[in-house]
Amino acid sequence: MQSTAHLFARNAQKALADKPLQAALGRATGRFLHHRAEAVAAFPGFEEARERASEIKTETLARLDEHLGRFIAEATRRGAVVHVARDAAQAREIAVRIAKEEGVALAVKSKSMASEEISLNLGLQQAGVEVVESDLGEYIIQLAGEPPSHIIAPAVHKTREEISELFGRKLGEPPTDSIPALVAIARKHLRARFLAAGMGISGANFLVADTGSLVLVTNEGNGRMGTVLPRVHLAVAGIEKVIPRMADLPTFLRLLPRSASGQPLSSYVSILTGSRREGDAEGPERMHILLLDCGRSAILEGKYREVLKCIRCGACLNSCPVYQSVGGHAYGWVYSGPIGAVLTPLLVGLPEAAPLPDASTLCGACGEVCPVKIPLPDFLLELRSDARTQGLKTPGEIAGMKGYAGVMKRAGLLEALERVGGLLAQFFTKGKPVEGLPYPFSGWTERRDFPAAAAQPFRKQWKNRRGVRE
């Protein structure tokens, strides 16, 4: 996917002015947060599971070569064909080759962020393979020709009226204002596609090393349809999705749905191991697993390794007040919210995504909810520091910081400036709040006052009252 992360400020402004989006965001994130909090409260083992999941992931990443090697060996032994792609272009090439070799003209796809990373749909469509998104939200935005705006709820910004109009225009269905009727329309059209498709495309929530299994978690059941009915199954997954063993899976299944939507368990978990066996009633004749590096091995090497622990639950998005304010599109790439603000610069490069790490108040809410304890606020800080060392800060900011640090080096100089500030405040606003600061602080006072400097700073008043003793 082409990144517009460098345009975050502009994208965010647009989102703030979008009334329906604002209403939907408020509802959606509030609902998620509420459900998550309830689910966590109702499950006493949550913190313990969180600790354990974090340990398992840390441990797995420290020996990712071994665990991934084991996964590939076991999956292959059970009939899966495993492919490895270094970057997005190569991944698309491989996917296209698979579709061609398997003679696939139509593919149904369940939601996968990894496939968005590599623009899989575009690649396949350019090669003449039709790809239909089967997750309802994704289906809607595919019909609308938009990118998804949320890991969990991609069409969070669309109203039923817009969807009815869309279904009328694209599917020839009569208008309705009933949500169940809209769902039924999608079900009918997608069922036909599932049955006609030559290939089902899925992501993977987990890759289980000791059995070579792939785990898919969905509520709609599209993940099951697409991996049971079509004759070929193509799974696209980042190499970091591996967990050591099936015995580790329950820990993650206890965390993922609770963190994502507040459910004890999603309606459907599919554990898919290899291709159809002899005597099986159904299942794909061939299972292809396309493993993506796409920048992950580079992340593994550096100080951001722990970001690869992410299980894509979306809890950090929902808890983030910035995400709650601007939604997912503003982040300009596949991943949004705090995880996007960290992952996008690491995957597409900090020069392209430099505004994202700054798009946080460092309030820490994301770090608090992360089910695998990724230190997201620390990483945001780290990336901001990288921006400085990589020469991505404006000369103005650097000059400002140097000046500020220069003043703070000497308490006497600071006091002198504070007293000048106090005099100016008395002179210009008579000690009342300031209504307009000059650039680059002018945005601050657009809708807020700024306090006037005290006539005399505390340090001066203290000396006056108590003498110079410290």
Binding site: G69, R70, V82, D210, T211, L300
Partner: protein
Amino acid sequence: MTGVDERELLFRRLSAALGRRAGTGGAPSLAEEPPPVSGGGADRAERFRQALSAVGGVVLSDPPEEALPVLGEALRAEGVAALFFPQEDAGARRLAEALIPFGPFTLTTAEEVRGGNPALTAGFRTADAGIAETGTVVESSRGGGTLLPGLLSDVHVALLPAGSIVERMDEAFAIYADDPPRNISLISGPSKTADIEQTLTVGAHGPRKIIVLLV
């Protein structure tokens, strides 16, 4: 060709990133979770019922003569007109056939449903296991079993031997030991979506209702 080369290159990158020589094995160094503490059998069925009911599922544990009318009424209420089951699943077949008087229901096959039979259907199947922790029904392709009754139907009726309910997920996975069948499906509620205006709606792709008959 590129596949093999790329794989090797990936492992070289990983080893370099981890600052070590490529290892083998892949045995986890973390200790396994302590073995789960299981509650008693009767309580377990009750916990299963509570957990599944909490997510909108229905659990019937009455003797067959009492369960049949209730089940028949539940299916009629959902507008079900046709019933299907795996040919080799004797329990499912018996149940579906016994339900006909409580209809009107006709019998159909998975192939017909797959072929686009427009009638609303109920799909019957005997489950591999139940999980009390989450109210989950476990079905799989073990022994050539079909998943279509729980996949293509509008209402899924799962027959669950009460003795096959385990307490926790860990135990359910253990029944497949080291050789999981191609497809294991954990079902914990109806097919649902909240993708339109965050309004929970059932029957997105799969069954809009799941009914479990404890046998």
